[in-house]
């Protein structure tokens, strides 16, 4: 697979320093878990599973993503796409995060056309995580 240097760099960055790359999780019982939205997309049989968590905080009346964590099972470009998504999320309002399109990830990482589904998965993951966070709010 002829990946761009950007995919390779992002992949290696994640693998070599997972903590810095925001690999990890918040689990029930953690402080602030009620402010965490989780999105899991993909399937093991398809070779890609992405788990994204966003931690939100109400700042000046708007919910902003203050932190995010992920874990991804998948090919190099799926792992790079998740890492790229994380970089794009922090500090954004939910509305802004909702508007992130897979095409931005494709452009930044220069994904080959056969790997575009990895960026679609990332877009779906943020949508799921936002939905999950909003459903938590409703339960409040």
């Amino acid at each position: 697979m002829a990946y761009s240097q950007k995919v390779v760099d992002k992949f290696e960055e994640t693998l070599n320093n997972p903590e810095k790359a925001s690999v990890g999780r918040w689990k029930p019982g953690d402080e602030d878990f009620h402010r965490v939205g989780t999105g899991i997309v993909g399937a093991p049989a398809c070779g890609d599973v992405m788990k994204l968590q966003i931690k939100c905080q109400n700042i000046d009346g708007e919910n902003r993503i203050v932190d995010a964590r992920f874990k991804t099972y998948g090919c190099g470009s799926a792992i790079a796409s998740s890492g790229q998504l994380i970089d794009m999320l922090k500090g954004k309002t939910l509305e802004e995060a909702q508007a992130i399109s897979n095409q931005e990830i494709v452009d930044i990482l220069e994904l080959p056309s056969i790997k575009i589904h990895c960026s679609v998965l990332a877009e779906e993951a943020i949508h799921r995580a936002i939905d999950d966070f909003k459903s938590l709010r409703n339960n409040d």
Binding site: M1, F11, P18, P44, G47, V49, K71, Y73, G74
Partner: protein, 401 residues
């Protein structure tokens, strides 16, 4: 970065001595003649070299040199054998038998023959990747004219009992073709004692050049084929086209060396496999694909559960290996061979084929094993599936989006 090559089942480097010999058959100062030229010494000398190569290959596989037809490689040999035999004997019957774990160079010709009206039975291997003589016996009918099975599976290294299957097909008057692209020069085969009718051979799998192969066509009992290429009537009419002298000489020399070195090569590979396996066997949740007793030691196919194969290959960037993962294929489908074993798709996605060869050192396999261990560990650290597995979640019970 120093690269370690562990993809010998894909292709092998050409032996230095073979390269040297090949270059003697190209330029004006060399032996460049057309072996088909009967009117001068240039042709005679080239013909002599081609026949010497034929003798070398015949010695390696234990046949009469006149039973060898030169081709451009195993894909052509498979096509010529399968389509050639089916089309020639079509008046005897229209049923053909092969298996689901054959190479595409065998499966695709069968698909083509289905288009032409033939009926094909695709045998399923057991979970170890084996096709048995009993399965073949059950599948053949009065109308069966051809059975085609591979000698050694390219993804798994499993070896088919071609001697027993040959006895069966001969007793029923059915043509038996064997794709031996992976096995020739690596494990012994004796055409004078087995009952195989057609055998496909590729040079680049045993340290010869790419672009040349051969088809063994038995003379006693005589097997006939409809040729694919029509033209000057070379190779007794089976395969027209000027012989690629330098390629054929390369194949012949590689065959001569393989004949001498086979036992040493095999012993060495067994040792490498043992060393590698000792290092990796304790990794949690790994599965050997094609775990058969009858297996070539140079190929080891392992699924590392919860880690996707392509990402593992990227993590092992100083090691050249291949994967059954969909992500490394153009089709985005995981290996059909692993699926045919009944492996779950996720295990097919997680598979890596390590294949060792003549130039692999103990140091190579030790370094690789260490890197595999640490890479699997690191990739599992970022895998949500590993996290769920560690939490005791049954992944089969989750409804995936």
């Amino acid at each position: 970065m120093k690269q370690i090559y562990l993809d010998y089942a894909s292709t092998t480097p050409v032996e230095e001595g073979v390269v040297k010999k090949m270059t003697d058959f190209m330029s004006f100062d060399g032996n460049f003649g057309n072996p088909a030229s009967r009117s001068h010494s240039f042709g005679w000398k080239a013909d002599e070299a081609v026949e010497e190569a034929r003798n070398n290959l015949a010695t390696l596989i234990g046949c009469d040199p006149r039973e060898i037809i030169w081709t451009s490689g195993a894909t052509e040999s498979d096509n010529l054998a399968i389509k050639g035999a089916a089309r020639f004997y079509k008046n005897k019957g229209n049923h053909l038998v092969t298996s689901k774990i054959e190479h595409k160079a065998v499966l695709d010709p069968f698909r083509q023959l289905e288009e032409e009206g033939f009926e094909v039975t695709y045998l399923e291997p057991n979970s170890s990747g084996e096709i048995s003589v009993e399965q073949v016996a059950e599948a053949v009918t009065e109308k069966t004219i051809l059975v085609s099975l591979m000698h050694m599976n390219n993804e798994l290294g499993t070896i088919t009992d071609i001697d027993s299957i040959g006895e069966l097909t001969r007793s029923k008057g059915i043509i038996f073709h064997v794709d031996a692209a992976q096995s020739i020069g690596k494990i012994s085969i004796n055409m004078s004692s087995n009952k195989i009718d057609l055998l496909s051979i590729s040079a680049h799998k045993f340290y010869g050049p790419k672009g040349v192969g051969a088809l063994f066509v038995r003379r006693q009992p005589r097997v006939r084929l409809e040729p694919l290429f029509h033209g000057g009537g070379h190779e007794r009419g089976f395969r027209s086209g000027t012989l690629a002298t330098h390629q054929i000489v390369g194949l012949g020399e590689a065959a001569r060396i393989a004949h001498q070195q086979m036992d040493d090569d095999l012993r060495k590979l067994e040792n490498l496999r043992r060393i590698f396996w000792e290092e990796v066997k304790d990794i949690e949740e790994i599965y050997v694909n094609g775990d058969s007793k009858n297996k070539f030691p140079g190929i080891l196919n392992i699924s590392f559960n919860f880690v996707e194969g392509e990402s593992l290959i990227m993590a092992l960037k100083s090691i050249a290996v291949s994967s059954g993962s969909a992500c490394t294929s153009a089709s985005l489908e995981p290996s059909y061979v692993l699926r045919a074993l009944g492996r779950k798709d996720e295990l097919a996605h997680s598979s890596i084929r390590f294949s060792f060869g003549r130039y692999t050192t103990e140091q190579d396999v030790k370094e690789t094993a260490l890197l595999v261990k640490s890479s699997v560990e690191r990739l599992r650290e970022i895998s949500p599936l590993w996290e769920m597995y560690q939490d005791g979640v049954d992944l089969d019970k989750i409804e995936w989006a």
